[in-house]
């Protein structure tokens, strides 16, 4: 593999060649910036990058050189360029959440997920564009202008992690971090034809992720391939004492899922060696008729309504056929409360957001607009100028549903229905289903400016938001194209069973082969 093939290299291949001394980290970072320039990642073109500092990134890569020469373990992501959604706190580059209220703000501390990437040798090349405070499904709500879909520049890349999905789709980085609250990694992954993973709630530390709706937020990963995503997730997953909601459940080696077998014991010495990258994984065997033997895939009828776009239905059916051909059993199931998910989500998420965004008050950091008429006027001027229309709308909505007299009818009710939605998933997985398969989105990427009604925009999350409400892991993988626009298929598994999810995803990716992008 040569650095000239950079845009086709997976994260594991980049790390392997860096560890083997075939290429230097600086070569890889240079190639990443070269690709960014070629494709136009800057503000005047695709507007993928909000902040980047080529010189600093190259310097960081150069500093890795002595570690290579000393044959010190460089980590599983040695020299891998990564892009980070701009709502994840980073040292060095600003963290603005796509909002005017944080323009120029550089966090004095770093998110746990980023620290873990760095500790494993990854190098940040950019903070990526996003819907302001992750509120949106198109990246059109960024205060710094919309990101364009690299596959069709007139269309949106999806959102809110649109910049990260576009960075991966454009071949700038093999992996990127995004964040999810209601589908903000999976939906843009589907629109950009890449892999997007939302882990189980609690799987990845939220420390350093700027909160939108704390009970739903989760850092997710985008990768060009399933393998890229698996490698990235296993690097950042695991307990963090700084996040009270993070889980101490063992993190398996997700890449072993490519072998098409159940998860090995976490304490298995081979697995440990692989975790720190000492024994590179051999290429997985070609999928065969037994790769998914014994795996039961649920097909929930609520996610395949009559009204579903026939082309999307067709791509899903084709994917299910491939899964069957590898030994999986496909079973019709029902998640009866899923149709309630959008109303529940658009009560709970804004409610939490209204509280989480109260800290942007112009007192300690970020934007301050002071009309000189006292404190309250300063608050109001700062917040009305600092927040865009969608953020304002959601803060108001959230304030309303929490306010005296409405709490029981909205917030409390939604919380109870959320429990019912989660119960549906629990029941399905308890009945012997290993993974659920659905379309990721009801449509392909739409043109910039096409959707102006807020609720119509919210319906983009209709198939993804249930996994956030239930807290279960879910991912989107490319399953084909419609008129050159990518379609994503969603795989959902039980709490903390990302391994099974990756097993199905590896098989599906291999089973579809070139069809995934046709």
């Amino acid at each position: 593999m040569s650095v000239n093939d950079y845009t086709r290299l997976g994260a594991a291949q980049i790390a392997s060649s860096v560890r083997a001394g075939e290429a230097s980290p600086a070569d890889m970072i240079g190639a990443s910036f070269k690709r960014a320039a070629e494709i136009g990642a800057g503000p005047d073109e695709l507007n993928i990058f909000l902040h980047s500092d080529e010189k600093a990134s190259i310097e960081e890569a150069e500093q890795m050189r002595p570690r290579i020469q000393n044959a010190t373990d460089l980590g599983v992501l040695a020299g891998v360029p990564v892009a980070i959604k701009d709502n994840i706190a980073s040292l060095g580059l600003p963290t603005t959440c796509g909002s005017k209220v944080l323009r120029g703000y550089v966090s004095p501390f770093e998110a746990t997920a980023i620290a873990r990437l760095r500790a494993n040798g990854a190098i940040i090349v950019a903070k990526t564009n996003m819907d302001e405070f992750a509120m949106g499904s198109s990246t059109e709500n960024s205060a710094f202008g919309p990101t364009r879909n690299p596959l069709d520049v007139r269309r949106v890349p999806g959102g809110s992690s649109g910049g990260s999905a576009a960075a991966v789709a454009a071949g700038i980085t093999p992996i990127a971090l995004g964040s999810e609250t209601g589908g903000s990694v999976r939906q843009p992954a589907a629109f950009c034809g890449v892999v997007g993973v939302k882990p189980t709630y609690g799987r990845v530390s939220r420390y350093g992720l700027v909160a939108f709706a704390s009970s739903l937020d989760q850092i997710g990963v985008l990768g060009r391939t399933v393998d890229d995503a698996a490698l990235a997730l296993e690097t950042i997953a695991g307990f963090d004492a700084m996040d009270s909601t993070s889980s101490d459940a063992d993190v398996p080696i997700y890449r072993l899922a490519s072998l098409g077998k159940p998860a090995p014991e976490a304490r298995n010495p081979d697995a440990q060696a692989m975790r720190i990258g000492r024994s590179p994984i051999p290429p997985p065997p070609l999928p065969g008729p037994t790769t998914l033997e014994g795996v039961v895939i649920g097909r929930p009828k609520e996610y395949f309504p009559e009204s579903l776009d026939p082309d999307i239905r067709h791509r899903c059916d084709r994917a299910l056929d491939r899964l069957r051909s590898m030994g999986a059993t496909v079973r019709d199931i029902s998640l009866p409360r899923s149709p309630l998910a959008i109303p529940v989500y658009y009560i709970l998420a804004p409610a939490e957001a209204s509280s989480n965004l109260a800290r942007f008050d112009g007192v300690r950091y970020g934007l301050r607009v002071d009309p000189g008429k006292g404190l309250k006027a300063m608050y109001e001027a700062t917040r009305s100028e600092g927040f865009g229309p969608e953020v304002t709308r959601r803060i108001l909505l959230g304030t309303y549903v929490l306010s005296a007299g409405y709490y029981d009818a909205y917030y409390k009710k939604a919380q109870a229905v959320r429990t019912l939605i989660a119960d549906d998933f629990r029941a399905v997985f308890a009945s012997g289903v290993h993974a659920i398969f659905t379309p990721t989105t009801p449509t392909t990427a739409f043109p910039i400016g096409a959707i102006s009604d807020p609720y119509e925009m919210y319906l983009n999350d209709i198939f993804t938001v249930t996994a956030n409400l239930a807290g279960v892991p879910a991912m989107s993988v490319p399953i084909g194209r419609i008129r050159r626009l990518p379609v994503g298929g969603q795989i959902i598994t039980a709490h903390f069973d990302e391994y099974a999810m990756f097993r199905v995803a590896y098989a599906l990716e291999a089973g579809l082969g070139a069809e995934a992008h046709q």
Partner: protein, 104 residues
Amino acid sequence: MPVTRQDVLHISELARLGVEGARADELTKELTAILSHMEVLSQVDTATVPTTAELGAGGTPLRPDVGVPPLMSGTLGSIAPAMRDGFFIVPRLASHEDSGESGA
């Protein structure tokens, strides 16, 4: 339940968003439209659904009472809009505002 302009002004006040004028009218319509989609929830029977507390499997983790150096790089002055003598400085409360709300 339609949202009134009065409601919008009240919640804007609570959230310190300074919504006024024509924007208040637009938001009244938008919020009413959005909330109309939420009405469906009122028909769901949730009488037997356990509360969050009853679901609370595994309590919140606890931190030992030992000091740790604040994990911060740089100074507060580099992020604060206004500081003097180590204090954050804000405009004084205007007279109609409460000065007794402070202190938990």
